[in-house]
């Protein structure tokens, strides 16, 4: 009897120790599931876009139908756009989903080149072509840019080269997004990524928590510097605003995109249905950082809500200048919080030579 009790005690201790999952591991496990769900949504929407484009091209359906589905697909992408680690970056798949910034209008140039070479307009031709023509930016050009839309209507039939190219692009997009889902679900990747949680968060060892927080910071810097600073003219020699430097100027989706980017950050910090970043911070006695992060996020969302014109137009109107500059500053405050307090609270070092700049 005593031996049995001893054996049971040992088993209980062993099992108990195996069940003690660290807060970091709980967060990364939940975050991985969140990313997978996001990728699946992107893939589902890409398949739906493929279908809506087929309807448009074969049944002369209203162009607003594929346009609406394009918006939903872009929204799904904006939700996971921050994930710049893992399989999606290994083959430049992120660039295949969306090519931007595009100050030199390369998307239009490459699309026109393909349209001028009708023999190249096949799914295989698009898949083997530059990443520039494979994704949502090229689809936006064809569905929203006036001369291309006019071309659809002027020919009467929507079965011309433009439709053939559009179909090939959305087919490639659906395939690419399917590959991204598979890449994320890959057991070897998942096991390896999760296992890095056990390594020191010192910037020397691979670490999933560092990957995630580093990607959050990179994304929010992109929102500030490229998505807002670009059209505000902060990246130009003359510092003149230019609405065409906004992310979704053809579809006027720029502000929607920024909003989804911010909401994605909010979802990472607080998710009542899963172990979130707030709980990880609470486990380290740093709930105050979570509170501050959400306060900064809310500041940004409130400022964004005051801009009631498409970004392409708002940056050109002096009346909106102060609001946009306030938003720019507010994004900077959020990013500074990630860079300093959040990384410190999580004991993370981000990059060394890669962030060096020399």
């Amino acid at each position: 009897m005593a031996r049995r009790i001893l054996l049971l005690t040992v088993l209980w201790l062993l099992l108990g120790s195996c069940e003690r999952t660290s807060p970091e591991e709980k967060w990364i496990t939940a975050l991985s599931a969140r990313i997978e769900a996001g990728y699946q949504s992107l893939h589902r929407n890409s398949l739906a876009l493929n279908q809506r484009v087929q309807d448009f091209c074969t049944q002369n359906a209203d162009i607003n139908v594929p346009r609406q589905q394009w918006r939903q697909t872009m929204a799904a992408w904006q939700d996971v756009q921050w994930v710049r680690f893992g399989p999606i970056v290994e083959h430049n798949d992120d660039w295949k989903i969306q090519f931007w910034p595009d100050k030199k209008n390369i998307v239009a140039r490459k699309v026109n080149k393909m349209l001028n070479e009708p023999q190249s307009i096949t799914v295989e031709g698009v898949a083997n072509a530059s990443v520039v023509v494979q994704g949502l930016s090229a689809v936006e050009l064809l569905l929203f840019d006036e001369p291309y839309v006019a071309q659809f209507t002027s020919t009467g039939a929507q079965s011309g080269d433009q439709c053939q190219l559009l179909t090939a692009i959305v087919t490639t997009l659906a395939e690419n997004t399917g590959g991204i889902v598979q890449g994320w679900q890959d057991a070897q990747f998942q096991a390896g990524w999760l296992a890095t949680v056990g390594q020191p968060q010192d910037g020397v060892h691979a670490n999933a928590v560092s990957d995630a927080v580093g990607a959050m910071l990179t994304q929010m810097e992109k929102v500030k510097v490229d998505k807002l600073g670009g059209p505000l003219g902060y990246k130009n020699r003359n510092r003149q605003p230019n609405g065409y430097f906004s992310e979704g100027w053809r579809s006027d989706s720029s502000l929607d995109n920024i909003k989804i980017n911010l909401l994605a950050m909010q979802g990472i910090m607080q998710n009542n249905e899963a172990y979130d970043l707030r709980r990880l911070l609470e486990s380290k006695g740093n709930a105050v950082i979570a509170d501050e992060f959400q306060a900064r996020l809310n500041d940004n969302l409130s400022l964004l809500a005051t801009i009631d014109k498409p970004l392409r137009e708002a940056v050109m109107e002096p009346g909106y200048r102060q609001q946009l500059e306030d938003l720019y500053q507010s994004l900077g405050a959020l990013n500074n919080l990630i860079k300093t307090k959040l990384t410190k609270a999580l004991e993370i070092n981000l990059g060394f030579n890669s962030n060096d700049g020399d």
Partner: protein, 387 residues
């Protein structure tokens, strides 16, 4: 933190521990072809060090220093390793490699700072460094006597703003200088103050007269030429850090011979996008046939064939940083004689990265291979020197 959960997933720990796959481990007793490595590094806590490693790439001495260093150079006559502070640092650290002691810390003038690189003259008496003149933000080449504590005796204009790496040409009379073109001032930390009016160039400076005798500008003003290396035949290979958009298609690696135009090396779109317009170290083989360029933002080292300009291969290396040619051999089979000519080693380099690895890279006719020399907790800084 000690993990307790590996009992759940024993395989996961193995995967994590392996990190980058496809590496050979160093065979015992292999002739690596060098006797020492010098590099700056940080520890996990962010303390800066200068380090001396032996032929097994193990740390022999490591000395904490107040300023983060960037590059280094070896002065063979005096057996000194000289480490240069990263901008806007003002220190030059002098390590006596015989005693392993830091024997001098040279503080630059109040209106100067180092850019992290220097080179020793052919006769071993002089040191040339890239510096910023803070009074007008012009580029300066500092000339130091290496008799005793390094002492500045002269300055030359570098031929541009923001001179970064420089090298001595095989004639021993000329410096080649990567003028990055970016104006910075310590008051604005590391912010680029002239992004839209940058004028980077590759300049050749005659040491006898101190005059720039030839220079070449890249096709785009935001193509900041930063790092370079010189083959024995005078071919210069250089790396660019492009300050424009990530999506712009611009070349990032170039090759040049005196009197000719720059030749830009192939950069396929997927590589362009993955390296994020950023190159770090450049190391060309002695014969001027093959060039390696580290790309920390793409976690890779690219290998180019200089005759064709083609990118031959990419090696994975997380946070890839230092690269340095081993020896000045130009014949095949110098390091690992082999009956199989296809397998004979043509060129050898040492590489480092920010995640603690030192590796030996060897090319043969077929490919470039990596052998791990050592791993540890040090974040090796951008550049290393191998003797």
């Amino acid at each position: 933190m000690l993990r307790r959960d590996f009992c759940k997933w024993p395989l996961l720990a193995m995967v994590a521990a392996n990190g980058v796959a496809c590496r050979d481990s160093q065979p015992a007793g292999v002739d690596v072809g060098f006797r020492a490595i010098f590099s700056g590094c940080d520890d996990a806590g962010g303390t800066h060090y200068i380090a001396h490693l032996d032929r097994a790439a193990q740390v022999v001495s490591r000395i904490a220093v107040p300023q983060r260093v960037h590059g280094s150079v070896y002065a063979p006559q005096q057996r000194l390793a000289l480490f240069f502070a990263r901008r806007p640092g003002t220190h030059l650290y002098v390590l006596d490699t015989t005693s392993g002691r830091l024997i001098h810390t040279v503080e630059n003038a109040a209106d100067r700072h180092f850019y992290g690189h220097g080179v020793v003259s052919a006769d071993g008496h002089w040191l040339y460094t890239t510096e910023n003149n803070l009074t007008d933000l012009s580029g300066v080449i500092g000339v130091y006597s290496l008799q005793g504590k390094p002492n500045k005796v002269a300055e030359f204009a570098s031929g541009g703003i923001g001179p970064h790496q420089l090298a001595l040409m095989p004639d021993g009379q000329t410096l080649v200088i990567a003028n990055g073109g970016m104006a910075t001032h310590p008051s604005f930390e590391r912010e680029v103050l002239n992004l839209e009016s940058m004028a980077p160039n590759l300049a050749y400076l005659d040491l006898a007269s101190g005059a720039v005798v030839e220079y070449h500008e890249p096709p785009h003003h935001k193509m900041s030429i930063r790092h370079l290396d010189v083959a024995l035949d005078g071919r210069v290979v250089f790396g660019v850090q492009y300050q424009g958009e990530l999506t712009d298609a611009v070349p990032l690696v170039g090759s040049h011979r005196r009197g000719e135009d720059i030749q830009w090396l192939e950069l396929p779109e997927p590589v362009q996008l993955s390296v994020k317009q950023y190159t770090a170290s450049v190391a060309v083989d002695a014969a001027g046939e093959t060039a390696l360029v580290s790309c920390p933002r793409g976690n890779l080292i690219g290998c180019w064939d200089l005759a064709s300009g083609k990118l031959l291969q990419q090696l994975q290396s997380r946070d890839a940083a230092g690269l340095f040619r081993v020896g000045n051999h130009t014949q095949a089979g110098n390091h690992t004689p082999s009956d199989n000519q296809e397998q004979a080693v043509k060129s050898t380099w040492v590489s480092s990265n920010g995640v603690g690895e030192m590796s030996l890279l060897q090319s043969n006719r077929a490919s470039l291979r990596s052998q791990s020399l050592s791993t540890g907790g040090w974040r090796w800084d951008n550049h290393l020197t191998v003797i």
